[in-house]
Symmetry: C3
Subunit: 154 residues, 3 copies
């Protein structure tokens, strides 16, 4: 059965990637009470890191936004894998975004808006989320972006 | 009706600023169960960023502490706006503090103490909070500090 | 009475250090509902910071891993101190790891695996935890690593 979320993703031209596997000795997601904590997501597709380097040096703002979009799709893929769909997702509660950034690049919120807007278009009111943005000098595996998502689930 | 918290703020010579609006496509605060998650707060007053740059270069330790105090006031303003006052605030649970820092500046806890002490003077036992401190090479909008607050609410 | 966790630690040759005291005006740990939030832990033993500097410059990968292990022990010590043992610990929910890193050092997950593996060997299934890894240019007190742990408790 296709959920509203899957249908909405298809309408927007997105295909949900396979949920990336953890890069070490931890779990992709853990539920405690009504909260689901996801591990840090990177801009990975088909097992390969698609966006490396810093926004403002190796990457443009637009590439950073594309990286944010892909990473948000991975977060959705993790939620779907953990919950077996989106019916039990009540809302995204928190989104922390770490953007690998050139010195003097201060537009992290514009990069992260690509993730927030994707969530909003796909999930509607359930996109919710308080957000915090950070500039990283670099990130694990030289990733361009890392997103940490916390969701409320039923 | 003036709450104890508002009275305490006035006694200490503080006026709670208007809660800053989100800088992008997200919400200022989201509640899930008994937890209230705030978006990252910056040292903004009357819509303008008041403290820019790094502690140890563009800013002194004392300026960093003033930035931390202002940012903590913004967190309180967000809580008041979301809850319609402070009666339903049970305690501050977690405070993450990211301080834009010169290379070789390691006194982030002293900067953040200005935020923790303000919360303690205003909220008393309800100031609670576990804390984590970080040195950022820079922050969105070139802010001097960013605080992420999680609160327990009724 | 010695708990299974204490026995397991002894079998592995680890002694749980005294829980380090906060470095400022905050609490070591705060519980809200079923979640226990710990303050950021550093590689401290007997009151002294044991690992300073950046992995890839002042410290080798192996030293970074030893720092991660010590810091994970401190997190366990905080949990034991707060709960009066490990019986009420249901699982580790989230582990955030910030590794002070040389420019161009991208192996933060390998450093953090030392913490995750320790938790797993000591706590078994209760080690749980979603994880996020970050590269810091530096950390408070020039610490090599900072871990932020959130646990589910009864």
């Amino acid at each position: 059965m296709t959920s509203n979320v899957d249908r909405r993703l298809a309408e927007l031209g997105f295909a949900l990637p396979d949920a990336p596997r953890p890069l070490g000795a931890y779990r992709a997601a853990v539920q405690a009470g009504g909260l689901l904590f996801l591990s840090g997501q990177l801009p990975i597709k088909d097992g390969a890191l698609r966006y490396k380097g810093r926004v403002g040096i190796e990457l443009t703002l637009e590439e950073g936004r594309a990286a944010a979009e892909l990473t948000a799709l991975n977060a959705l893929a993790q939620i779907r894998q953990f919950l077996g769909g989106f019916d039990r997702l009540r809302q995204i509660v928190r989104l922390e975004g770490h953007v690998a950034s050139a010195p003097g690049f201060y537009e992290q919120p514009k990069v992260l808006d690509a993730a927030s807007e994707l969530l909003s278009r796909v999930l509607g009111e359930r996109a919710g989320h308080a957000r915090s943005a950070f500039a990283a000098s670099h990130l694990p595996a030289n990733a361009a972006i890392e997103l940490i998502v916390t969701a409320e689930v039923e």
